[in-house]
């Protein structure tokens, strides 16, 4: 365990170098978000006062997007997938095969440390932005909801990590994984609820997307926060989220063991 704490500490030190980049990335990311929110405001402005879109009030919609931004800062993979793919391609993973260190656990420590540092520096612009829109930002109805939201975000982070890990492991088989990562990301962007809340889609499509793991990366935790899933639906959702995390973990292990057989330690 101690060695992984050490990896975590190294991860913190390494990512601290990028703090200015993190700040700019978070700040620049707010510009398209502001644009999207202006468009939504314009749509609501043309409707009679208090009108709903897919049972979201204007405040509900604004809160949704602010929370997307928040969940994204906490869970998005930044460089992890590129680094893993590069490790494989350049033969750097050979050293992990020789050491009593589990590569998945090692990457997980780096991911968590990276997210911790990112959040610390992204929180300044994100918090200012949220404060600017505070009139439309709703807080969770009770501490219980906040607690389940926190748990759900952690699960979303794990799922996000396993997904990125599996995608990066494609580097065992293909020369350039970046196109696959981007194609996957395009689907994720839509199906996780990044672009808009999934329940403003036609019902059948929303139902279809909910059969995939994607909504559990973003849409589900936010729905928990906003109190849009309650009672048995909430527990079912959490169970599904846990199931996807376990499956993600299993897949990560499986793909790794397959890949390592194929691995020829180029340049290692």
């Amino acid at each position: 365990m101690r060695k992984y704490l050490h990896v975590f500490a190294i991860g913190i030190q390494n990512t601290l170098v990028y703090r200015v980049n993190f700040f700019f990335r978070a700040a620049f990311g707010l510009i398209p978000l502001a644009g999207t929110l202006f468009v939504w405001r314009a749509i609501y402005a043309d409707k009679p006062a208090g009108a709903n879109i897919g049972d979201y009030t204007l405040s509900g919609m604004v809160s949704y997007y602010l929370l997307v931004n928040f969940v994204d800062a906490l869970t998005a993979v930044a460089e992890d997938d590129w680094q893993i793919a590069a490790d494989i391609k350049d033969g750097n993973i050979s050293q992990f095969l020789l050491k009593p260190l589990d590569y998945l656990a090692y990457r997980m420590c780096l991911y968590v440390s990276g997210r911790a540092i990112y959040t610390v520096f992204a929180i300044v612009p994100v918090a200012l932005f949220t404060f600017w829109l505070r009139a439309d930002f709703t807080l969770p109805s009770d501490p219980m909801t906040a607690g389940i939201f926190a748990l759900s975000v952690v699960l979303a982070g794990l799922l996000q990590f396993f997904l990125a890990y599996v995608m990066a492991l494609l580097a065992f088989w293909v020369l350039d994984v970046s196109t696959f990562i981007f194609i996957q990301f395009a689907f994720e962007y839509l199906a996780s609820g990044h672009l808009f809340p999934l329940d403003i889609l036609p019902g059948w499509l929303a139902q279809l997307l909910k059969l995939t793991p994607y909504p559990y990366l973003c849409y589900f935790p936010i729905s928990v926060y906003l109190g849009r899933v309650t009672g048995p639906e909430l527990w079912q959702g959490l169970a599904m989220q846990i199931l996807w995390v376990v499956l993600g973990y299993g897949l990560a292990r499986l793909v790794w063991s397959r890949g390592i057989k194929k691995y020829s330690a180029v340049g290692g």
Binding site: Y18, V20, N21, F24, R25, A27, F28, G29, I31, P32, A34, G35, T36, F38, V39, R41, A42, I43, A45, D46, K47, I53, G54, L175, D176, T179, F180, F182, I183, A186, F187, Y189, L190, L195, F196, I200, L201, P202
Partner: protein, 267 residues
Amino acid sequence: MTTFRRYLSLYGALWRNSVTREMSFKANFLLWIIVELLWFGLQLTFMSVLYSHTDSIAGWSKWEVVLLVGCSNFIQQLFTAFFLTNLTEISEHIRTGKLDFMLLLPVNTRFLVSLRKVDLGAYLNAACAVAVMGYAAHRLHLAPTAAQFAGFGLMVLAGLLVHYSLMFLLSSIAFWTVRAQGIVFGYYNLFNIARLPDAAFPRGAFKAFFTFGLPMLLVSNVPTKVLAHKLGSPWEMAVLGGMSLACFAASEALWRYSLRHYTSASS
């Protein structure tokens, strides 16, 4: 005229180089086109979901917005075809000292660092954007006159010049700090607001800044409005034209100033 000819033939040589390079990874080349098409599709999906809940956004109808998204993507793809890879590599040239080598070549250095590599896939994606625009224009029953086409072409060039100048300006920051790459990629976020209808933005600091500071709300809105008869006044064209020249002048000033203070990374 002979200088122009010379640069044209130089660009031809750079083109041939890029074709050779790209064709050595054919599968990758095709996959990148698919990636770009997916993101374009995603933008169109977003808009069509919005319009499944409303008939107009700040006076823009569905097909007008499709025309706008198409136009924005068209400009972005042209930008990618000519400049994007080159501009993101500038900080690398400075960091590694490769720029020294380019400064010594008997050719305008700005020309060389801006246009060295051509992104061929982006031409195909630009063609797709034109197809989407054509379909949207058909749905809007638009029949642009020759003057409208000329105005549109001119405004697309102005929009392209804005993107190029601003990103080049940001790349020149690399002369002063090694962290410029993050800022250059950050610029990419700005493309996202270029494809939103400007009328949706209320008067205020945000709109003023993205009109007269970083004119993102002009670059694709003005050309689209030329085609869709939505121009409030012909002055909008003059503002975009003027802003594009101002951005270019600013980028040239910083470039020259930075080069004068350039001390090379290593020997």
